[in-house]
Amino acid sequence: MSTKAPVAPQPPRTIREERLARDGKRRRPSHHADVNPLREGLRLERVPDPHVTVLFGATGDLSHRKVFPALAQLWRTNLLPADWALVAIGRRPYDDGTFRMDIAESLHRNCRVQLDEDAERQFLDRVFYHRGDFADDQLYDTLTEKLEGMHLEHDTRSNLLFYLATQPSAFPEIIGQIGRCGLDHEVHAGGWRRAVIEKPFGRDLGSAIRLNREVLKVFRESQVYRIDHYLGKETVRNLLVFRFGNGIFEPLWNRQYVDHVQITVAESLGVEERGAFYEETGAARDVLQNHLLQLLSLVAMEPPATFEADALRDEKLKVLRAIAPPTRQDIAREVVRGQYDKGWVAGVPVKGYRQEPEVDPESETETFVAARFEVDDWRWSGVPFYLRTGKRLAKRASEIAIQFRDVPHRLFAEANTDPQPNLLAIRVQPDEGILLRFGSKVPGLGLDIRPVTMDFTYGTAFSTDAPDAYETLILDAMLGDQSLFTRADEVEAAWSIVTPMLDGWLDTPAPAFPNYAAGSWGPEEADELIQRDGRSWRRL
């Protein structure tokens, strides 16, 4: 990941070479001349190579809310190369000047830390607008010419980062056109080409396979960066450090000690202005297939041998493949879907989903999904993973909770209260941190046991100026680090779990929607799903 420059591996040497080099009597062996020794030990964040970022969908909501502010923050902190430019592609009738004014307004609204006047001007001066229709050959022909000129003018060395922030339906067309114009071809002396693709990546297993095929007709897998922004969040990245950088947790991280795992991604917002998009998507496609299954795979994976992208992704893939696709019976028993009705959120009355703009009044789209999965491998066999996500829930909260087993023997029989099992909760948002619950004796002559918590909050130990997930991920893509991006086989493995669920729902009678009030924690069936196992959802 981009926080530190990767330390180049020490080239192996014979003992004699090692001794002579240490004494300064001989240079490094020439057969290791492909490693730049000046890179060894550099702690500073690496600055990406000079390049042009080509942003498709530049006038869209995602670009304005996330992509431009992230790029501006990278510029502010000197993490973009000085020789950098951006071509913004959209259909709307802007020119460079009017588009820059529009972006400036977005930056003022959405930037985490505002840029000073000079930095903002320098940033905007590097943004160029290119108008056209994604399906029009002429757009790409003129883009090719423009990029050739820009490489000369901005000295960007023929390096290109394509960023597809468009509707998913436009991905195949854009990728195909990039291939038609030869813009994917990497140049021998430098000149890399990479493509960043936003989620959702397909809408079921078949479409994901087809999309992967289209993308891989043009780009190699090593050139493709599929974004799941949850993987760029600080707490999610810290999960790896927490698990594999501390000696005391990993020995407990298995079926011997863990009773079950709960992963929640709860939103208090509704669909806002995205009713049309959400009607076609739903909670399973929007969150379960990507964020929740990615979090699950990070919690359940084996330690990778190295911290390289493919080693990490291989281990995540094994977890996804160890989850059996749900059968019809599983779907009926272990998956719950829901849709919100009107209700109260944070003391304010809100509409039901079917009353939202651009939503069918008879909609069958789920805004909530909860599911019970098992990871059938040596480490986790028999440990249930309960996942839930929904819109218009009581509060915005994302959390991973590891519930440990109860003590094997009730030693404190005289105590008025039984000790509760230990719990480790990793809060992803808001108030990022880690909490460990354990039992403690209540002071006094009796023997009462009460749960207490050790609570680590990021804000109290580190600067609160943590980068946004998009800053992390865009910088990683520019640096060519794929660790936090999903690979084609991972995407397909996740769809192979979710697609039977979606198909199963189509084959069953229309659900009795709406089935939960806005501001609640979802339908009662979700509680029953976990209560059947003698457990309950954590109160967040």
């Binding site: 080099a21 240490r22 004494d23 300064g24 009597k25 001989r26 240079r27 490094r28 020439s30 001349a33 492909d34 730049n36 020794p37 000046l38 890179r39 060894e40 030990g41 550099l42 702690r43 500073l44 690496r46 600055v47 000079p50 000197n78 190369p81 000085a82 020789d83 000295d155 060395r157 002396a189 430098g190 808001p430 108030d431 909050t457 804000g459 109290t460 130990a461 580190f462 600067s463 609160t464 100026d465």
Partner: protein, 392 residues
Amino acid sequence: MTLSTSPGVVGQPVLRWQSRAKSLDGITAELGRIWSSIALTAEGPDGEERRVAARTSVMNLVVIAGRGEVGERVASIVEGLTGRHPSRTLIVTPADPDGPAWLDAQVQAHCVLPSDAAPETCSELVYLTCGGESGQHLSGLVAPLLIHDLPVTVWWPGEPHFESPSARELLPMADRVLVDGSGWTGDGMAGIAAMAKLPARHDIEIADFAMLRQARWREAIASTFDRPALLPFLGHLDRIEVHYAARDGAPGTANVVRPMYHVAWLASRLDMAVEEPFRPGTAPWSGYTGLLRHGRRRVQVALRPMESEAPRGTTLIVQLHATRSRSQLWVEVTAQADGVVVQASLDGNPMPERRFLAPRKREADLLAETIETAGRDPLAAAVLATAAKLVE
């Protein structure tokens, strides 16, 4: 004792507690009183009362401030870092060494709201002025006030006296020492030689702000050799020259710690041995010259003064020259107002320039960076060890 309950603003530190003490026991008692005041609440931006968080536990920071004004400057930097801060800061200013022993301490708690939803985060600052004999035995003052089990960082602004009795007592209890070698008097070489002995003597890490400030230079130089065509030239360097800002050409009038770190970094990364340490030239403006050995090849190294309005000792240009199979590579990295520019030419054919943005870092930025990247820095240790050989 004073207690402030003024409303907190996200990200802006507020002085929440201030008291005075005249003895170590008094300081300890005051520190205890801050956190035993369970009712300590403050008004948040929403007008509601909120709990002030207990202190956080990151590290102890001990600052040896030779003069009162240095102490005040450091205090304002540390206050600004509340929230990304050490848990306890002791700023120690010895005064009036020949007078009677006395002690005067201000005990403060600075708090900051990390976000709207979170409780305030507080850190402690003890501003300790000690006179007479007390100032001669700093370890006796500092040790009882450290939070145990937390790393101890000693920040020594100005000119540190590593060989002084106080330093000999204080440094064994430290895990890390922070200095700024670019602020030392003379050419700074004697300070480098003394500092390089500390890691072995006290098992401590050293962070020099002078070295940290050059990070973007190192990135710029390293990036030049990321090009596959240029990488082999690293094994064939024959000259390294660093030009630094000076007012007059006499040796010893400008601090050369920063330019020398460039040479030390290159030498340490490329496994070069020091054959002849730097020696000042006799002619004005001749600077310092030395000799490195890289296998069988000798590499001429020089630090050259250049007349400039920039602060004395500022690196202006780093030049590298290499000859390989009758091909010649020339690399020149030049300081600009907002960064550095790398120019390279191979056999006289210029290659595309590359500019790296690197605004000057303030002391507060460097301190924050050092605190947040705690841990061993093998690169810094290697550079310092090589620098020590260069100044022998």
